[in-house]
Every structure is written in C-alpha cells, then in structure tokens.
Symmetry: C4
Subunit: 315 residues, 4 copies
C-alpha cells in the first residue's frame, strides 16, 4: 500500500477508464483521427437522445446546409399554400387562376411572400380565414428564419483553430538526449493566437490493455504563436518513452494524442485543435529543417509548405 501513491507505479498500474477505451480493439485502428475526430461508436440510447440538431446543422457542409434551408422553405410554404388552397378562392383578392393547379401555385407564391414578409400585396387575404393563417405564417416565418440566419452566422463566425501539423513527429536529437517533436503553425494569416498550450497523451498497448500517459513538455505553453512552434517532449529517464525502440513502438501499438488550445484574437475566444501521431508516423533520428527566411524589408518569413520537412541525422 505504501507504493500506492508513488506516482510512477501508480500510473503504470492504471486500470480505470479515462474517456478513451483501455480495451484493445484493433491494432490498425487509431484512437484519434488526423482531423481530431474520434474512432468510436455509441449504441444503446434512443436516437433522439444522442442526436443534436444544433450540432448537425453546425457541422454539415455549406452545400448541405443551404439545401436543408431551401428544402425547409419549400416544405413550409407548400404546407401553408395548402391551407390557403383549402380556404378557397374567395379568401383572396388578386388571384386570377384558370385552373386548380394555377390557384395552388398562386397560393404558394402568396405564402412565400408572407413567410419572408416581402408582402407585395397584389394577392391579398380577405376574410377571417386567410387573414388568420397569414398572420400566423408571417410570425412563423420570422421565427423560423431567425433559426436559419442564426445558424448561418454562427457557422460563418465559428471559432475553430486551423492548425497546420507536420506530417510526422520526430525522435530528434535534443541536448545530450533525444526528444519527441512535432511542428505546428497557425494556418490563418491574420488570426493572431496567444497563450497557446499543448498536451500530448502517449498511448501504448501492453498485455491487451491500453494505457495512457501524459508527456511532460519542454514548454507546454507559448505566449505568442506568430510563426511555428516545435512542441518538444525530452525523452529523459522519467519519460514513459525512455528506452523504447522503433520496434517497441510498433509492438506496443503506440499513438500520441495531441490537444492544443489557445486564445484567438479574431474570435476573442479560446479555440481548440486535436490530432494524433501513430507509430508509423514517427520518424526516428531526424530533425526538422529550418523554414525561416527573411523578406527584403527585413520581416521574418516562414514557408508553411515546408513545415513537415526534416533531415535524417546520426545519433
């Protein structure tokens, strides 16, 4: 029992689950995809409990979003057109229809004019029935369009970090030892980021059990993230990576999970980014190449297309 709170042993014996499965599922499957999404499936709850319409409408493509808004617009207006239609022709002035289909079309267009509150007024409701329906429709229109426009703007102004990760993480020479390194940059030119923090979780599989370790970074926070940051975990004797070889990485099905957060000046908000490196994305005995140069007027310049460039080194 004395050893229970000995930090090192404690971690090694970890058995409780921590948000990610410690059961080993498939060695080929990664825990976290390169884009930060998780490789997990949920079952057992009714669909409506797990589904978030807000999340869905926030994350689908613009194409899909516009299609849904447009389809909803059509459907709602068909519904109201139908209500006007069954009210009969005498409920409107200004409609001249030669047949029933044309009358329905006129009702439909009257409905769109009411729904969007454009209200040209050539076609006009007379009588209680059509006036009641159109009063309700114009209110409905304002409220449902508020959802559409709210979502539209929130999609447009969504505070997400766009981080460029190097394709590989390196085991690079660092002082007298080696270090695990990867390089990141802010994709967006003018979104200044400050107070950026990084966390690396190291995952390995031993005896059919997945274990997680948090890696200690040389610096886990930088104040200004204007150019690139080479996130650096020194592999000293306290590191859970200490003594592991390239072969071990493969056998232990190693994966490094990355979590970044920082304050984005433009969004005036904290933004996050996730990614991961699996054992086959680790380059041994290599170091990142310099991607800094200078412009003619003396400013620092980085070439972001070279962010993954490295060279092999002898250790």
């Amino acid at each position: 029992m004395a050893a229970l709170f000995n930090r090192k042993n404690y971690k090694e014996e970890e058995v409780t689950d921590l948000g990610l499965s410690n059961k080993v599922i498939s060695l080929n499957q990664r825990l976290v995809n390169k884009d930060g999404s998780f490789n997990t499936v949920r079952k057992g709850l009714p669909y409506h409990q797990t589904f978030s319409i807000y999340q869905y409408l926030s994350s689908i493509s613009w194409m899909k979003f516009c299609a849904i808004v447009f389809a909803a617009y059509i459907i709602i207006n068909i519904f109201f057109a139908f209500l006007y239609f069954i009210g009969g022709e005498e409920n409107f002035v200004g409609i001249k229809s030669s047949n029933e289909f044309e009358r329905f079309l006129n009702d439909f267009f009257f409905s769109t004019q009411t729904f969007t509150t454009v209200g040209y007024g050539r076609v006009n409701p007379v009588g209680i029935y059509s006036n009641v329906i159109s009063s309700i429709e114009s209110l409905t229109g304002l409220l449902s369009l508020a959802l559409a426009t709210g979502l539209l703007y929130s999609r447009f102004s969504r505070p997400v970090a766009k981080i460029l990760y190097s394709d590989n993480a390196l085991v690079a020479p660092y002082k007298d030892i080696t270090a695990l390194q990867f390089r990141i940059a802010n994709k967006r030119r003018d979104h200044q980021m400050v107070d950026v923090e990084a966390e690396i979780m190291f995952s390995k599989v031993e005896n059919g059990q997945r274990k997680f370790f948090e890696l200690k970074l040389e610096y886990n926070k930088i104040h200004f993230f204007s150019l690139t940051w080479t996130v650096n975990h020194p592999i000293d004797e306290n590191s859970p990576l200490y003594g592991l070889t390239e072969e071990d990485y493969r056998n232990l099905n190693v994966e490094f999970l990355i979590l970044l957060k920082g304050f984005d000046d433009t969004f005036a908000q904290i933004v996050h980014s996730r990614s991961s490196y699996k054992y086959d994305e680790i380059i041994w005995n290599a170091k990142f190449l310099n991607i800094y140069s200078t412009t003619d007027d003396g400013k620092s310049m980085i070439e972001l297309d070279k962010i993954s460039d490295y060279e092999k080194v002898l250790i």
Copy 2:
C-alpha cells in the same frame, strides 16, 4: 491554536456556511437533485428582485415558450388594433366592413401585417393618426420580434452538457483498497468534449450539523471524453470515507454532490453538469461491467444503455 491549520482537524471543525446549508433540515431530502437542481427555497426578497425574465424564458419548455410568444403577439396586436379602431374608418383605405366587429378584425389584421412588416398594402393608413401609429408599430414589431428571435435562437444553441450518469455509485475494489466510483458518458454523439474535470463533494450529518468535504480523485481531469469515464475516489486512510460502513452512510445521511465541467467542441464553450448520489444509491462491493466492444470495422463501441451495469464482488 497550533492545530488550527492542521488541515484534517480544520476541516472536521468546519462551521461557517459554504453555499449549501449546514443546518440539517430533513434526512429524506437531498441537497442536489439528480438533474442538478437544488432543493432550496428563498424568501424575503420582493418577487421582482429575484425573478429573472431572461432565465424564465430560457428555461421553460418549448411548448410554453411558443405559447408565450404567440400570446404576446395576439395581445400586442389587439392593443394596436384598438388604437386603429378608435381612429375611425376614415383613417384607412381598403377596408370594407359591414359592422364594427368586422372593422376591428380588419384593424387587427392590418396590425399584424404592420407588426411583422409584411405590409401587403390592400389596407393602407391614410392621414396622420393611423400613419403615426403604424410607424410606431412597425418599429415596435422589429424590436420585440428581435427579443423573441434572440431568445429562440439562444434556447436552440444553448451550451449545456448532456451527461449520462450511472444510476448508482459503487464502493468497488481498487488495487489493495476500495474506491468510490461512478461512471459517466457524453450522451450526444457528435459533441466532442475535451478537458473534462470532475469534483465530488461529500456531505455527512453529524450531531445535527451538516459537514462538507471535497474528495480527492484518482484523476480529476481527462483530456479526451470520447467514451466513458469512471470517476474514482480511492478510499485510502486520508479519505473522509475511510472506515465508514454502509450502516454509517445511512446514519450520517451521506450524499455525494457531483460537479462536472468540460469544453464542448460544438458550442466552443465550457459546459457544466451537476448531479448527486445519496446513500441509498451507493452499491457496496460491486464493480462496473465492461461496456466496450468492437465494431466490424475495428472501431471502439460503447453500449450506453449498460452504463449502470455492475456485478457484485467479494472483497
């Protein structure tokens, strides 16, 4: 006085109140309900000082919210219709009414058309009186609909965590000792949560006095909350639970108050969740069953309907 800042004794002697009553009210009553609301009543302040219309309109059911918006719409339009009505028929062109009630109805529908800015224009204000009223009404309409649509969208996009808690907390074997455990998962499929933190407050009643203790967790934070998290308080000799039996729990009217917070990717914001376990929701000598399995394509799968499943164990 020497013992004053001895942490253990200090806590034990705690008498000042800490947000929750330390007076013992009723042993059957819980402090925090399962849904995170508090069992407290406030008195002594005038109603308008304690009432928050924003909170009210944000938290009522959608049904109620829509009813209130619709009722307000009717009432405001009746008010303006009345103003138009007393202005007399000569203030409008386009109204043909056979009686006073019909004229009021026409005024009402004209009002809704003005309030929603649909403005068909068959009925039209002429003269200063009706023009002034309708100018004010259209502005009023735009401003009050902004409240309604703002609330509507804020309700829709409200950043709340939907956490699934296991029905019971367990006193489970853990290493050489036991631990208090409960299991949580994120209900929503696609709302990724990161940096999730948990806090457990332990409450007991001794000598008619309620006391609170914060429990030290094995991990109080996880970086990725993609599957489940078994929150774990090891009951070692420093724990205020150390040595207590199931019988003691009942006698001390024990309750565990839970506070969770984490960053929700979809809302790009920190979300909270609260819950509690009372002594009769604690299962002794049990451990949670595995709910992980694998899909055919090698992804981790959890069966959320089994989150509360446990089996009794011998200790």
Copy 3:
C-alpha cells in the same frame, strides 16, 4: 537585500501602483462604491478616445435606451423624407397632398415604411431618383435596425451577477480567534451559480500612503452557491489585520474591497460582482444570525431579507 523577497516585509514596503491609487486623496471618499463602481476620474485624453458608444448604450437605463432608439428613428426618417421631398411629387404615385407640409408628411411616412421594410405600397416610388433613395434606405434600415435589435437583446441577456451582500462585515469569533466575515447570497432564484470565488483586498492608509493587502480566506472558492456563503478571513497572526483595533481601523481609513466571480448556469458564462466595506461598516464582536429554516416539505429555506442580521457577542 536578503529580506527583499521575504514575503511579509516585501508587501509592507510596497510602493508601486496597482490599478488603484496609492496616493491618499480624501479620507471620506471610498475607493470602490457599494455597487462596485470606482471613485475615479480620468482626464487628459480626447473624449472620443475614452468614450465607448457600445458601453454607453449597454449601460444606460431602458427608458433612455428606448428614447435614443426612437429619436434616431425619427431623425433618420426625417432625413430620408427630406430627400424624397426635394425629389418632388412626380417621383411617387399614390400621394395626394393638398399642401407642401402634407406632402412632407407623406414622404415621411413612406420613409418609415421603407426603413422598416413594411412597404405597404399605396405610396410607391416611380422614377430613378426615388427608387435609388428608397433602395438605399431599405438597406440602411436593415443595417441600423440590426444595431438596435442587437443592443436590445444584448442588454436583455447581459450576463451580470446579482449578488446580495450583508450591509456590514463583522469581526466575529471564529474558533479560538476572530475572523472578518461578510455574508452573500445569489439574488436570483433560478440562476444557479457554481464555482464561485471570492477575493478580499484590504486597504489602509499609513503615513499618507495607501497600501493594499490580499486577505487569505478560509475558503476562497465554493462549488455550489445555492444558499448563502459567509466569506471568512481568519485573523490569525499572519493576517495584516492582526492586532488592529476598531480605533485603528478608523485611523488607518480601512476599506475592504470585494471581488466575486462564478459560473452562472443560465448565462453559461462567468459573471463578476464587486463591492466594498469601509471601516464604519464593520461591526465588532458580532456574529451573523441563522437565516435557515425548513419548509413543510423538507426543503432548505433561506430568508434573504435577514441576510444582514447579526447579534453582538462577548469575546
């Protein structure tokens, strides 16, 4: 130099300024008002650099806000009416005016109908001039009303804490010593607050120099703020209040500055509150009376009108 970083002496010798003046201005004047505003005046910058129109429109009374919106509405429409007016009568159909003033009025009402996009259409622009102006006006209307409605909603949903402070702070018996205490509650019934933190700054004036000290609290954070919290600074030998008498408080022109922050469930955001107690608001040798009781169905009840109630005690 050895003593430089001796924490206690270091603080005592503090001379650099820290956001609040360390020059002693007037002994009667408090630094922070009861409502949390500061007693400070700024000079020397041009008005437009220090004025924030957003702050102004966010903080004025509702009455004033509505008056400003209404006045702006009138003024903008007079401006556009004037433009229509100089365009001449031939630019519109539907206007029948017997004199110039009536024509201006008609232009004004047409303008309001365009600005709010109600557009009845009895009066209609014909010709390029009036059509161009009205195209611009309807866009202008939509944009400026967006400012008005945005401000309206932001005022309505403004995340501010409504904290009830006890009228006095007490020097109360606490264990074997005394403690400085004040009592707070959340005014709003249904805005649950969690993770509430308190900070007390102690300010005294000695030798014409104001000095600040942060007071160490028994608890500086509570997880649940459902009832009341008696914020408590034990006056032990490490406290800067140690040994001071009521007389000293007066002579040193003592003031306690309070800063509270916590997460408000309804706003899903962190909210702040500030206040202060001056030496003449400190009651010596008193303790707060219990304000807890129980409802018939066993819930905890607090009587908030008694939050300031105390009784004198012998020490």
Copy 4:
C-alpha cells in the same frame, strides 16, 4: 545531463522554436509592433487556406466594410434584375417602361424591394418564372443580410481592450536595486477591467541566435484596474537582465514583448492587448512622474495624457 533541468541553464540553452523565430533576421526590425501585430510573413500555403473571410470583414475599416456591403448589395441585385429582365415584361404587372434600359431599371428596383423584403407591390410578379425567382431572392436576401448585420453587430460589440501604454519603459530605481517598468491605463472611461494579468517576454540576440526569457514580475496580476498600473520587473540577480548595460541592450538587440489580459466588465469577457518595447524605447535611470491628483469632491483623478511622463534620477 545533471544540469539539464537546472532551470537557469536550461533556459539559457534554449534552442527549439517557440512561436516566434529564433533566427535573427534584421536587427532593425521589431518582433511585435507597438499595436500588437507581428512582423511576420507566411508563404507556401494556397491563398484560400490562409485567408479568413470572417477575419477580413471583422478587421477592415468601417468605411471599407460599408463599401463592401453596398457593393455586394448592388451586384446581387444586378444579378437578380438580369434574371427578371430575361424573363420578359409579361412576367410583371405595374412596369411601364419606354425602353429596355428603363425596363432593366424597373427590374433592378423590383429586385431591391424583394431582396430587402420591403415589397411595395406596385410592380408585382405574375406567372411562375418571376414568382419563383422572387421567392428565391427574398430568401437569399434574408440570409445574406443576416451575414451583413451579424458582422456589423459583431464589429460594433467586438471585445477588444483599449490599453494606453507609456511611450517608454524605464529602468527605474526600486528598493535597493533597479527595476524595468512601464505604465498602463485603461483608455475607456467606463469599461471596468478586473483581474488583469501581465506577461513580459525578454528577447535578446546572441551569436546570431534569438533567445526568449519570461520576466518575473513584482505582481503579475491586479484585481482592480481602475487607474494605472506600473508593471514592474525587479532586476535582481535572478533576472536575465541582471548586469546588462544600456550598451548591452543595443548590442543584444533587446526587445520586451508585452501580453496583457483581463476581464472587461462591459463585454463580460476576457480581453487581450499586446505591445512591445525595443532597446531604443528604454529610458535608463528614470522614474515615472505622479499623475494622480484629486477632484474637488474628493475623487481620485488621473491625467492620462501624462502617462509617459518621467524624470531622470541619479542612481
């Protein structure tokens, strides 16, 4: 290896890059401009990956923003006018045009009336073609105006700190030693700021390599930022500035990077500010002049135009 985690040496040997280039580019160029922007250039990514339309529209001048909104309004309406135009005259009632250009103008104005949903209704779509187009246009109008008004309001209510920095940083006498100091104030009169934190990064160039050090502040946080704050780094023997002369500053191409953050009461949000002082903006042996005085009614007053005022002192 023993010295590796000796904090001081460790820092001195820093080689990995930390968000700002450690390659020395040009000694005349500063890393961070006075307004907080960075002197960096990015290359190598396709334009659309680095460009953020949201950031662009949020940060351009109001003049430019309005011009873009207006231009977009014109262009979209020309597009729809063209669609109406090719539909032919028979698609509308109410258009009387003597020539094609006049007809196009009429279509254009009908389009603006539809886009803004003002919909006067003198000109009216008849037939399917023009009704379909105008149904789509009114929806398009509502959605695109939501982007414009959303951006407008977000620009208006943008949570940015307006911090006034002293023109120079001073090396001032402080207790028995000296300290690096600069003075800041909140420009805005009524935006109260609390919990303001400061960080200073010291950058020097040695052997063609740029190095960064974080400077330890006397106080790195103040609770109330009502007047001014003299941010203070004592240059004791642990400081990386210890022993450096004015000459050294120039040779080492010294720059101090400033990062401030605090909670702004009006925005109810954390705001940031960045700036920097280069070696030629450091005044040696000087101290800031008092800028506090008192108003007639006893309030503290600061004269912000004197925030940079200092006097030379003998050391």
